[in-house]
Each structure stands twice: as structure tokens, then as C-alpha cells.
Chain length 150, copies 2
DNA sequence: TTACTATATAAGAATGATTCTTGTTCAGCA
DNA sequence: TGCTGAACAAGAATCATTCTTATATAGTAA
């Protein structure tokens, strides 16, 4: 799925950190690696659980701080949601989401037709629009199956 | 903006409550009225502040409970966001949002071209898609002006 | 009207997510 | 190899939200 190898992404990570004067710590590296290995739009606590094996002493505060930093500098993206825990997305390419309103699963999809939607005039002229994306909502395949064979 | 008068909406509110066996309390009515008078996608606390003048003893818990109930039964909609406090939208007609990433303002827009977007095959066949909407993000007019004339 | 009962409310405690404070550690550099 | 500011761990604090419980009241039947 990811268009770059994790090795390439890690190298980019190091370069970007250096360029911004950010230390490359083992914690940051582990959090970054956990992120790029995730396809499920993890919450902060999910990432915390994934790095805990390798870093039993890591504070969850470090994960919160680090994910927030990564979002600021563009390593990850915050996923739109409905006021629950924040979810992060390591895929920085333009793509869209389907959200299951029953189980919370968020599925990615690419759809060139959607990427090319034209920004309405009213915003084009007065605001600075930086992104346009489509959000689908409904019930996912797994949840639909659960409802028929209980 | 709102296509029905507030009198009509209030009448609908009463009818819907009765149909569902829900009591029509002064608190619920006040919260509903505050909602339909709002164009700003208010947070629970905003609504609480707006009804407090008329109901100084109202508990904020009542506002949380009531807005949650209203969302369940389709009087209002939750607005997509990034893990901050929930925001509600009394406009149940199909429309889309522009979100200012600097001040948090959420602007409505109707765009028939966006309402008619076709659901990608992969979801059409396996999932039950109930809504499709477009989210624009960027910096709003007011915030842009602030950045040029400080 | 009145009395009854299930529902709704107020108040405050509890929870979950996140941020802040502080003392300690360590990455990057001389 | 030693310095120093940035990063970290731990735990307190905060913010949004939900839960618990005792009280009040809307809807209704007499
Ligand atoms: Mn994604
Ligand atoms: Mn709206
Ligand atoms: Zn699902
Ligand atoms: Zn703005």
C-alpha cells in the first residue's frame, strides 16, 4: 500500500528531523516505525501499546507529545472523526475514508475523481483551501455480516 | 438559511417527541430552540451558555444528555472534527463544510455536484453507505485578514 | 383536579483523553 | 569525553464527557 519502503521513509524521517533541529531519539524512531507499519488509523494509545514491548518505560505522554509533533511537521495526519480519541494516519498521499459507524473501522480508498473536485467559488476567492476530501459513512462488511448471523 | 420556520420546527419537535414517548420538558425545548437558532455548529458548552440565562439551574449534564438524544433521533447531526469537543449541526439537509484550521470556524455550503458523487464500487457492493460528504479545510477569510494587518 | 409513576433532572463524583509540571536523562556537538 | 538544551518519565492537573443517586415533574389515569 505505502508507496515508499519503510527504509526510505525512515531515512526521510531522519533527514527531516535534522533539518528541523529535532533530536532523533529511540522513542521517536520507535513511534515513527509503529506508525508507518499501521494501516488502521491508530489512536495514541494503540501506538503506545505497540511500542511498549520494546520500551517498557515509555511514558504515554511521550507518545501524545510525539504524535502531535509529527502531525505538526507533516509526518502524519489527523483523521476526521466525531469527538472520540484522536486517530492518526501515516499515509500522506491524497486519499479518502470510509468510516463504519458501528465498529469505528476506517477504510482507505483512492479515487482520482474525488481528488479533482473543484473548490466552490465562494471559498476559492476568499479563503485559502488546503485540502478537499470525501468522507463516506455507513456500516462495514464485517459489521453487516455480524447482523445477519448472530 | 433554514428552510423551515422555527415555529414549524418546534411543532415537528413536539410531534417527534410524542411519537417516541419522550417528555417535552422546558429544558429540552430550550435546548432545541437554542440549537435551531445557531449557525455556528455549537459545542455542548456553547448551548449550555445560551440556555443558562433562561435556566440558571440547568445542569450541563442535561445538555450533554439531551444533545446526544437529539443526535440519536435525528434532530441534529454531529459534525466531523479532530478530537476536540463535539460540535452539533441543526441543519439536517444535505450540505458540506469548510473548516478553518486556524480558528475552528465551520462554514456551511450547498453544492449539488458534491451531493451526487457516486460511491466507489468497492463500498457499494460490500458495505452499507449511508452518507457521503465533502470536507474542505484551510484558513478562513477572517483569519487571512488577521495575518496581513497586525 | 388530583394522585401516581416512569421519566427526566441537578449535583457532584467518576472516567477517559490529553496536557502540564518538574526533576532527570540523553542526543548532538565541541 | 564533557556540556547543554532538548527530550523524557512520572505523576498531577485539566478538559470533555458520563455515571450515580436523590429529587422533581410530565404525562396520564382516576
Ligand atoms: Mn487513511
Ligand atoms: Mn453545517
Ligand atoms: Zn464495522
Ligand atoms: Zn479562521
Amino acid at each position: 500500500m505505502m508507496s515508499k519502503t519503510s527504509k526510505e521513509l525512515l531515512e526521510q524521517f531522519r533527514i527531516q528531523c535534522k533539518a528541523r533541529g529535532l533530536s532523533i531519539t529511540p522513542q521517536r524512531t520507535a513511534i515513527y516505525e509503529a506508525l508507518i507499519g499501521s494501516e488502521d488509523h491508530p489512536r495514541t494509545e494503540d501506538i503506545y501499546n505497540r511500542v511498549k514491548a520494546a520500551f517498557p518505560d515509555m511514558s504515554i505522554d511521550t507518545v501524545y507529545r510525539t504524535l502531535c509533533l509529527f502531525a505538526e511537521i507533516g509526518f502524519v495526519r489527523l483523521v476526521e472523526g466525531y469527538g472520540e480519541a484522536k486517530r492518526y494516519d501515516p499515509d500522506m498521499e491524497c486519499h479518502h475514508h470510509f468510516r463504519c459507524m458501528r465498529c469505528g473501522r476506517i477504510l482507505d480508498f483512492k479515487e482520482p475523481r474525488f481528488d479533482a473536485l473543484e473548490v466552490p467559488q465562494q471559498f476559492k476567492q476568499t479563503c485559502a483551501v488546503s485540502s478537499i476530501k470525501v468522507v463516506l459513512e455507513g456500516v462495514c462488511e464485517q459489521c453487516l455480516q455480524k447482523s445477519v448471523e448472530p
